[in-house]
């Protein structure tokens, strides 16, 4: 059963005409309203609307606007015009109506065909929108193939030259409550193992340990998809730290861990790394030691913006750093 709402201007003979045309149409339920009904809140659903023009588009557009504002999802609208001028018809079509029928022509066949075509036209538009959305969503989430470099030639970078690179700063620390259980020598050995693990992992993703002091250090990524590689290395180190501490090095607890990731331009040195000073390293230092809580992995906006879409999903906005957003690793929102 098709619900057809008919809107006419006050005092119009249009309802009588439509009733006569549609009296034998058993699959159409006709509902009649006037323009003044649009002054109240109107919420009657419809499959099709017949809207009678009063003189012209210009004189009827106010009422027509009230009509369309009362529907969340506008059904197809067939405008019954009394003004056959082309410009009038064009104005109605620009308003998104599905058809314009001249009141003088209107009969059962013309009206039924128009109703049928208008419904079909609107349905096909909806299907196209849905399809386009699906494709777009797929495009957003389509998995980019991350270029992890198979070989890296760090000698191709020259000392004291500036390069775009991505840095990962790692700090591991024995919790205060556990520190009494370890000798100085044991602590040193633990941190040495953390450093080795960092080197092994970063190398796997095309990076390397750049400099390391006691319990913290920096990995550098320059080759391939450097940002994706750096973040993947950081995520891997972060989520597998439990297994590393408990199983690989046989501790009784997991060390505290902080990781910061930042991307930018800075000076490069092969050796004498303790003498390197640059804005990117300073920023990374602040990010990791002042803006990253224990057991958190934080990345800057510079990193986030360059991440592939599927890796972005792991991060949530967590604050501001140097006036810009920072993002923290978020494994999964268990629901």
């Amino acid at each position: 059963m098709k619900e057809i709402n008919v809107f006419n201007y006050d005092g119009s003979g249009f309802p009588a005409k439509i009733k006569k045309i549609m009296k034998n149409e058993k699959d159409c339920n006709m509902n009649y309203y006037s323009y003044s009904d649009l002054n109240k809140k109107f919420s009657k659903k419809a499959d099709v609307i017949l809207f009678e023009e009063e003189d012209s588009f210009i004189s009827s557009s106010g009422s027509f606007n009230k009509l369309i504002s009362s529907y969340d999802q506008m059904p197809p609208v067939i405008v019954i015009i009394s003004n056959k001028e082309i410009i009038n018809i064009v104005r109605w079509m620009r308003k998104g109506t599905s058809d314009c029928l001249w009141i003088g022509d209107i009969n059962k066949d013309i009206l039924n065909n128009s109703i049928k075509d208008s419904i079909e036209f609107t349905e096909s538009k909806k299907r196209k929108i849905k399809k386009d959305k699906k494709i777009t969503a797929q495009n957003i989430l389509s998995r980019k193939v991350i270029n992890i470099p198979e070989t890296t030639n760090w000698n191709s970078l020259k000392d004291n030259n500036y390069y775009d690179y991505c840095l990962v700063m790692i700090e591991a620390e024995i919790d205060k409550t556990a520190i009494g259980r370890y000798s100085t020598e044991a602590i040193e050995k633990i941190y040495q193992k953390v450093k080795s693990e960092s080197e092994s992992l970063s190398t796997h993703f095309g990076g390397k340990n750049w400099f390391w002091t006691n319990n913290s250090g920096v990995q550098i990524f320059y080759f391939g998809d450097r940002v994706d590689c750096a973040v993947l290395s950081a995520i891997t180190f972060f989520v597998r730290f439990f297994i590393f501490c408990i199983e690989k090095i046989g501790l009784e607890e997991v060390l505290n861990l902080r990781i910061g990731v930042h991307d930018g331009n800075g000076i490069y040195q092969h050796t004498k790394t303790s003498q390197i000073t640059s804005d990117i390293i300073n920023s990374l230092n602040h990010l990791t030691f002042q803006y990253t809580k224990n057991n958190t992995l934080t990345i800057t906006k510079d990193v986030y913006d360059k991440l592939s879409n599927n890796l972005k999903l792991y991060f949530k906005k967590s604050g501001l750093f140097e006036g810009r957003d920072i993002y923290s690793y978020h494994f999964y929102d268990a629901k």
Binding site: Q138, L141, S142, R143, I146, I148, D175, T177, A178, D228, L232, I235, T236, F238, V239, R240, F241, F242, I243, C245, I246, E247, E252, E253, V254, L255, N256, L257, N294, N295, N310, L311, L313, Y314, Y329, F331, Y332, A334, K335
Partner: protein, 306 residues
């Protein structure tokens, strides 16, 4: 050929080291009392030659499929003696060589002789007996929303991705002496039995879960990430060669725990199993009451003392 020679070597060693009486005592210790007269066919009150006694005993043990326990006990006796007396098996080296030829191996970690197959991890660890009841720790693992994924993606993409996922699981499980007993494409039942099997099962589960970000980035051919659920429960089950048909209360419970009480990307452990988890690891779990029983959840990332 190999097994015949192995039986002959063991027979020779037993008959050289023991008299008939001691052969009977050796057999009692291994498989329980056996009437040597009945076994050998010698009339009662006659002397059974030691070589004949040894031969029939070894043959009987082979028929009841207890060669691995025989080898275990043989090595044990060689190392520790028999009934307070030291025992010298003169041709031990040949027995060990022949044992290997027949597919048996002394596993130093398990401290027992196990049957091994090249390139395969046996579901019985090389020594479980069909019909025997044992304690295990079971893991139920499942890919979430598999039916939706299967409808949405081309079969070849699903196959490639799921094969990669199974490889990840296999590596995490078998490196910790676990076994995949049942695999249904998108998940299955894993079993752990040897050594500290509950904690090994837990570490396998953590390994799998913590590998998911890398798996999703590099080995997942679908355009969306895969999410999983993992549950652990320890208990008894009767071992059968066809491991797909093995069932027990402990197995039913772990499946129910995984399907009904485990959030995505987390590990759930039953109350009874939790008490077997290393005390130092328990602090990383959160208790949740379900049907008046506590279950324990491990969510990621795990770490730090809070």
């Amino acid at each position: 050929m190999g097994i015949t020679r192995l039986k002959r070597l063991i027979t020779e060693e037993l008959s050289k080291a023991f008299d008939t009486n001691k052969i009977g005592q050796f057999t009692n210790s291994l498989i329980g009392y056996i009437d040597l007269y009945k076994l050998t066919g010698y009339p009662p009150n006659t002397s059974i030659p030691r070589k004949e006694a040894a031969k029939q005993v070894v043959e009987h043990i082979y028929k009841i499929n207890k060669i691995a326990p025989l080898l275990n006990y043989f090595i044990y006796v060689a190392q520790t003696g028999f009934r307070g007396e030291s025992v010298k098996f003169t041709n031990m080296k040949s027995v060990i060589c022949e044992m290997k030829e027949c597919g048996y191996q002394y596993d130093r970690e398990l401290n027992k002789v196990v049957l091994v197959e090249k390139n395969t991890k046996r579901s019985d660890w090389g020594f479980l007996e069909d019909g025997g009841s044992y304690n295990f720790c079971f893991i139920s693992i499942d890919i979430s929303k598999n039916s939706r994924l299967v409808r949405k993606y081309d079969n070849s993409l699903i196959q490639k991705t799921y094969i990669n996922f199974k490889d990840l699981v296999t590596k995490a499980v078998e490196s910790r002496k676990g076994r995949i007993w049942n695999w249904e494409g998108d998940g299955g039942l894993l079993a752990f039995h040897v050594k500290d099997f509950v904690n090994l099962a837990l570490l396998s589960a953590v390994d799998i879960l913590s590998s998911m970000p890398i798996f999703n980035s590099l080995s997942n051919y679908l355009s969306e990430d895969i999410y999983i659920r993992i549950a652990l429960n320890a208990g008894k089950a009767t071992y059968k060669k066809d491991t797909v048909t093995i069932n027990s209360d402990a197995i039913s419970k772990v499946k129910e725990l995984e399907k009904k009480h485990t959030s995505l990307m987390s590990i759930t452990v039953s109350q009874s199993t939790f008490s077997h988890i290393d005390i130092n690891l328990r602090k990383y779990f959160t208790a949740k009451n379900v049907n008046s029983e506590n279950i324990y959840q491990l969510k990621f990332p795990v770490g730090g003392v809070h």
